[in-house]
């Protein structure tokens, strides 16, 4: 079934056991993003230490794709420099807009490549991107905070 490319086992695992879910007390910046077309929401805490992502925690409601993607993202960027994290995001965005033409670089995206199938369901791409866009927003804001 076509659907299995969307709901890979690893996605459903992340959905059921999301990483870094639950907001941390400490944070450099907090952002709140919504997906206006379906009502999904995410709150994300980013803790920076200089230019390094010390911690990303999040909470929110959403479908398996958005929750799993958020879980994978928060784990991926953990401990990376903001610049590095943003290049990962770029790879992920590229994968999402590929309409199934690429499979994603597992070296860079790790579990994120399991989301490759989403790119064949245009209405779901936004779900997969929700957490990433929140992270990007937080990272840009956080970097400005740190510079002050």
């Amino acid at each position: 079934m076509e659907l299995d490319s969307l709901y890979q086992e690893v996605i459903l695992d992340h959905y059921k056991h999301p990483l870094h879910k639950g907001l941390s007390a400490e944070k450099t910046v907090q952002v709140h993003h919504v997906n206006p077309s379906c009502g999904d929401e995410i709150t994300l805490n980013l803790l920076l230490e200089g230019d390094v992502v010390r911690d990303v925690t999040w909470d929110g409601v959403g479908c398996s794709i958005s929750q799993a993607s958020c879980s994978i993202m928060s784990d991926l960027v953990h401990g990376k420099s903001v610049d590095h994290a943003l290049t990962i995001l770029e790879s992920f965005s590229e994968l999402m807009s590929s309409k199934g033409s690429i499979t994603g670089d597992e070296e860079i995206l790790e579990d994120g490549v399991a989301l490759a199938g989403v790119s064949k369901f245009p209405a779901r791409v936004k779900c997969a991107l929700l957490g990433w866009m929140a992270f990007k927003d937080a990272a840009l804001q956080g970097r400005n905070e740190e510079k002050k």
Binding site: L3, L6, Y7, L12, C38, G39, D40, G62, I65
Partner: protein
Amino acid sequence: MTLLDVATIKADFPIFEKKMRNDARLVYLDSGATSQKPRQVMAAEQYFYTHQNAAVHRGSHLLAEEASAAYEGARETVAAFLGAKSDEIIFTKSATESLNLLAYSFSNSATGRFALGVGDEILLSEMEHHANLIPWQQLAKRTGATLKWFEVTPDGRLDLSQIDQLLSARTKIVALTHQSNVLGTINPITEIAKKAKEHGALFVLDACQSVPHFATDVSKLGVDFVTFSGHKMLGPTGIGVLWGRSELLAAMEPFLFGGSMIETVTMESATWAPAPRKFEAGVPNMAQAVGLAAAINYLEAIGMDKVHEHEVALTTYALEGLQTIKGLTIIGPTNMDSRGGVLSFALDGIHPHDGCQVLDQYGIAVRTGHHCAWPLMRKYGVSGTTRASFYIYNDLADIDALVTGIEATKKYFKVS
């Protein structure tokens, strides 16, 4: 429980010939969002374009004459359908435009019953579609008026227990939906309208989910304005209707300004034609008005009472079927008292978006999300629901497919 002859009806809707994913047939349960179109509607638009197409009201050549007759004929069809007078029917692009037209026209008029200010109130409900909420938020913002609203009860009804506090001499506008696009609840409009009238409030009825589904006689509802969209009632996209009482339309200022809505124009000022022309600036959506008239003819040939009976039968059957599913909760009334063919539900452990995706694999089209009624979602503590909505081309097999599909969804996501 009388069902329509769906096989015959379906033959008029070419989209049902389309093969869906995995070669499934189309089980279209999203008519609350937009309806499918019969050949007759497409043919009416095509006939207009190939035999009558010209700008209405502006020419005396043959095509202009025929186009005007077709367009004004469509207006008469809509008027007859609603029990209204022809010059009370205004064509807009959608219910959304109709509602915004009112909110802007009230600000533009700003005298008599249309004058709003600090201390005045606009009364809505928690089950309003964004289209019947945000224009009033904006009107309140422009004028200093205050928004009030009826709450909803846990079983999906308007909570009218506070009506005598909510409705008072301060209430200038009451804007309510006839049938909720999420819950399926049909609201007791005549009763509320009667009270509103006692307080001198204008009553705006959002009839998007009622006019397509049961007979609506504007002369009997006791309301002042009725708005709906053509695309939800077998008609084309890009056409909506506003009905308003003659004396109110006569007193109101226009909304859109331009050609064909004027009496005289100089560089510095202009005066207006009488309604409905006053509210229809520019070359109108002529083909779409004609298409809407064809849709109305189609519905009337079936009979609006039969349409309603059919949907009641389907919804009764669906309520039964869905409630056999473990972990499924209906959001909205679970009985058929004052209730139409829109059904929202939640499924334990499965997000609506995920559930919809599995159903889609079986050709089943349902809607998920907040259904443009975000405050209502918050009220019920959900981020969205799954919604099935029915129309004349649905049959019991469609509902069986839905129930089976949901069971399959649960299996797919290993939820018991």
